[in-house]
């Protein structure tokens, strides 16, 4: 309940977060990558789909045979690796953020509902979650992608269908714990409508663990998308994704190590940053959890 003289937990968290320069730096890095992705059409030196077989496997600028117009070299079809890397950030990062956001909203809402209402809605939702959890990730993804065909929206749908369960479980667990708290009991005793209780009492309190899990999952989603693209189930050309670039580059590893290395590195850096940022976020909300 409000009417407190202390600062809200959100502001406190923000302050702590800003002091943790590692996590803050990682978040800043992610924001920069996101900005670059958004500004891709203006920042990228070339059209990522511009292919010229005569430039095939041209090495990066610091190697013999490279030049500054294609600083990171060209891929198997003569396309500029740097431009493809920049445009690829749109897909890889974009999918990571979008999928996690959507999955978290859906999953957390379902989780709060299930945890609060119990009974039949909980049983049904939990059962669906269990079935989805038991389905091996790759088999599920491949099967679903096969069903709907490749393409950006289908990838997002597939990943969201698998990811919402995580947020669901966390939200449900936290809700179950929260509803036994005094202030919830008090609210119910006072006759507050259940919807209001869910929205005003429970949701704000489960927000932090759900948020933390969400940022952790972002790393997993990015790798999952990369894996799907690696298997050939990713976005369609001319769209570019980092996982797809690694897949393309795998065949020419001996003749053109740069084609697969730079996107692989990009995936790793973004994922590390996401993990560190989420760790920082968790510690910011709950300094006692600092370890």
């Amino acid at each position: 309940m409000s009417a407190s003289l202390a600062l809200s937990p959100g502001t406190l968290a923000l302050r702590r977060f800003r002091r943790d320069w590692v996590s803050f730096g990682c978040l800043a890095f992610l924001v920069i990558v996101a900005l670059v992705a958004i500004g891709a059409p203006w920042i990228a030196p070339h059209d990522p789909a511009d292919a010229d077989l005569l430039r095939r496997l041209q090495p990066p600028v610091w190697t013999d045979g490279g030049d500054w117009s294609y600083p990171l070299g060209c891929d198997g079809l003569g396309r500029d690796v740097l431009s493809r890397l920049i445009f690829g950030a749109r897909i890889s990062l974009g999918i990571g953020i979008f999928v996690v956001s959507l999955a978290t909203v859906i999953g957390a809402s379902a989780g709060v509902l299930a945890g609060f209402a119990r009974g039949i809605p909980d049983a049904i939702l939990s059962r669906i979650a269990d079935v989805l959890l038991g389905f091996p990730y790759l088999v599920f993804a491949i099967g679903l992608m096969g069903m709907m065909g490749p393409g950006l929206s289908n990838i997002v749908l597939t990943l969201v269908l698998k990811e919402w369960v995580v947020a669901f479980r966390v939200a449900r667990g936290e809700t179950l714990a929260a509803r036994r708290q005094d202030y919830v009991e008090a609210a119910r005793a006072l006759g507050c409508p259940r919807g209001r209780i869910m929205r005003d009492e429970i949701m704000p309190n489960i927000l932090s663990p759900v948020l933390v899990v969400a940022t952790v999952r972002m790393a997993g989603v990015i790798i999952m998308e990369a894996s799907l693209s690696f298997l050939g189930l990713g976005v369609q050309p001319p769209a570019v994704s980092w996982g797809g670039m690694v897949a393309d580059g795998r065949d020419v590893l001996a003749d053109g190590w740069w084609v697969a290395t730079f996107p692989g590195l990009a995936i790793m850096l973004v994922v590390i940053a996401a993990n560190l940022a989420s760790q920082g976020l968790r510690e910011a909300f709950d300094p006692k959890s600092r370890r």
């Binding site: 292919a51 096969g146 050309p237 065949d251 001996a254 003749d255």
Partner: protein, 511 residues
């Protein structure tokens, strides 16, 4: 082992090898050849292998009446020779002294049984798609303990070309093991016999000492032959480079330089039998206009793609057939790379702002993207779209489903190197592989006539005519015929790749 014991143990074999060359062959004790292979065999039953990779494995253990050598000539194996006594009848005298791996001798009954089994059309209760490989074959007669007669229902000049696909099984064995047993057990007459089949991992075979010699003149030179299953390209190449295997198939183009640079390995290539092309949806405007189709043909720089993406290991085509095929027309007009010509022809046909999508499966992604970018240079807004094979093939094979689709990067195999085998399904109206929807009554008549024309020269003339028409009509964007590329260890001798895709190691040795 000493020469004496060697000779003594081979007495029965010696008796039947009297006419064959001397016995001095390099045979190291415990020698083995390891092949890094793309796919596991689906079954060991030669009546229904299911795909060419399985048949390649089976062919090591089962011989046929005839086979193809590395020059694609038909050579006798179990049959000594064949003669066509009239348009409907072929006589096959059989070799004596041929034994199955379980020791029983082969007789004409086994040959008849093998063919009858395929003619029956069902294996293990399931329809056998290989039945049609025997065409209008009516029945097989046993004319002696070692002689059979093939009787056709109507003239079919293709019979000798199609016989290498049939491997002979033992009647007694099949009756005992049943169709189910044939899946995982083998009893053939080939140079190697099965030791163990570790599914998904490897197939281990050993030399069959009583091998009658086939077309290689004696039993195999090595003790063991192992096929190791390695579907992953990089793993297969790495295994060859590391010396874990002596031979790999399907060497990816991108690994050629590595294998050549490596001291212990080399590249072996041979003209394949699979024609690659872009199937154009002939029914969909503006592709129904022949000028547009011809324009598309001028927009692809085939030589550059072959040079850069296929390492030069392909033959550009202006038609359907492989240069090695019977009746190949070398005089077909060339569709030279000329994007200016493309633009002119499109304008001529009144087509402005042409947009198209090239459908392809995963394996054709890179090339389809390259072709799309070449189309873009000619002013066409083109892009490639990757599909799963299982999804896109049924779409393109159904005229109703493919209505809205433009181009399809695909291929069709012609393992017999006879034009009938590829033109009937892929060119003739209503053919199962005729994804372009090409329908020319004149071509149809030529192809139908050639099916039953027994005179070789007349048959050839019919196909020459057909090819000229097809080239002019351009139902496809003609592309190329890739070579089959193998990676070989320098230690392996006595083997040459064959366009048929079969791997015949009966004469091979390892240093």
């Amino acid at each position: 082992m000493s020469m004496t014991s060697f000779v003594l143990r081979r007495r029965p074999l010696l008796a039947s090898l009297l006419t064959l060359p001397a016995l001095s062959r390099a045979r190291a004790a415990g020698s083995e050849i390891r092949v890094g292979f793309t796919q596991d065999a689906l079954t060991l039953d030669p009546a229904n292998p299911g795909n060419r990779d399985t048949e390649t494995i089976i062919r090591n253990m089962y011989d046929g009446l005839v086979a193809r050598d590395s020059a694609m000539q038909i050579v006798p194996q179990i049959a000594v020779s064949w003669t066509q006594t009239d348009p409907l009848t072929y006589e096959f005298p059989l070799r004596s002294g041929v034994r199955f791996h379980d020791g029983t001798p082969l007789t004409a009954d086994d040959v008849k049984f093998t063919i009858d089994r395929v003619l029956a059309g069902k294996i293990g209760g399931q329809t056998n798609p290989r039945r049609d490989l025997l065409g209008p074959l009516s029945h097989v007669d046993v004319t002696g303990p070692l002689a059979v007669r093939f009787v056709l229902a109507k003239p079919w000049p293709l019979l000798p070309a199609m016989l290498p696909f049939q491997e002979i099984v033992s009647k007694a064995f099949v009756e005992k093991a049943g169709d189910q047993g044939m899946v995982s057990q083998e009893n053939g007459t080939g140079p190697f016999k099965l030791v163990a089949w570790r599914h998904g991992d490897s197939i281990v075979m050993e030399r069959f000492d009583d091998y009658y010699g086939g077309d290689s003149g004696g039993p195999a030179r090595v003790d063991r032959l192992i096929y190791r299953i390695m579907p992953d390209n990089s793993a297969r190449v790495a295994a060859l480079l590391a010396g874990d295997v002596d031979l790999i198939n399907n060497l990816p183009v991108t690994a050629i330089r590595q294998v050549q640079a490596n001291e212990g390995t080399r590249v072996a290539a041979v003209n394949g039998t699979r024609t690659f092309f872009l199937s154009i949806n002939n029914a969909k405007p503006p592709f129904n206009d022949v000028r547009v189709r011809q324009a598309l043909n001028h927009a692809v720089d085939r030589k550059l793609i072959i040079a850069k993406l296929l390492n030069g290991l392909a033959v550009p085509l202006n038609g359907v057939l492989s240069p090695d095929a019977f009746g190949f027309d070398p005089t077909l007009p060339d569709y030279a790379y000329d994007p200016g010509q493309t633009k002119a022809m499109l304008a001529d046909a009144g087509v402005r702002d042409l947009q198209l999508t090239i459908d392809t499966d995963g394996s054709g992604k890179e090339i389809s993207e390259a072709i799309a970018s070449m189309f873009s240079r000619a002013g066409i807004d083109a892009k490639a779209r990757v599909w799963e094979t299982a999804v896109i093939v049924p779409i393109w094979r159904d005229p109703a489903k493919r209505q809205d689709h433009d181009l399809f990067y695909t291929s069709w195999g012609n393992a017999s190197l006879d034009p009938s085998d590829i033109m009937m399904p892929a060119i003739r109206t209503g053919g199962r592989g005729n994804t372009a929807g090409y329908a020319d009554p004149e071509v149809d008549k030529l192809l139908d006539d050639a099916e039953t024309e027994v005179d070789r020269e007349k048959r050839k003339a019919l196909y020459l005519q057909a090819q000229q028409i097809i080239n002019r009509d351009a139902p496809w964007v003609f592309l190329w015929l890739p070579q089959d590329i193998y990676g070989v260890s320098q230690r392996l001798k006595g083997w040459m790749p064959s366009p048929s895709g079969m791997i015949d190691l009966s004469r091979a040795t390892v240093a």
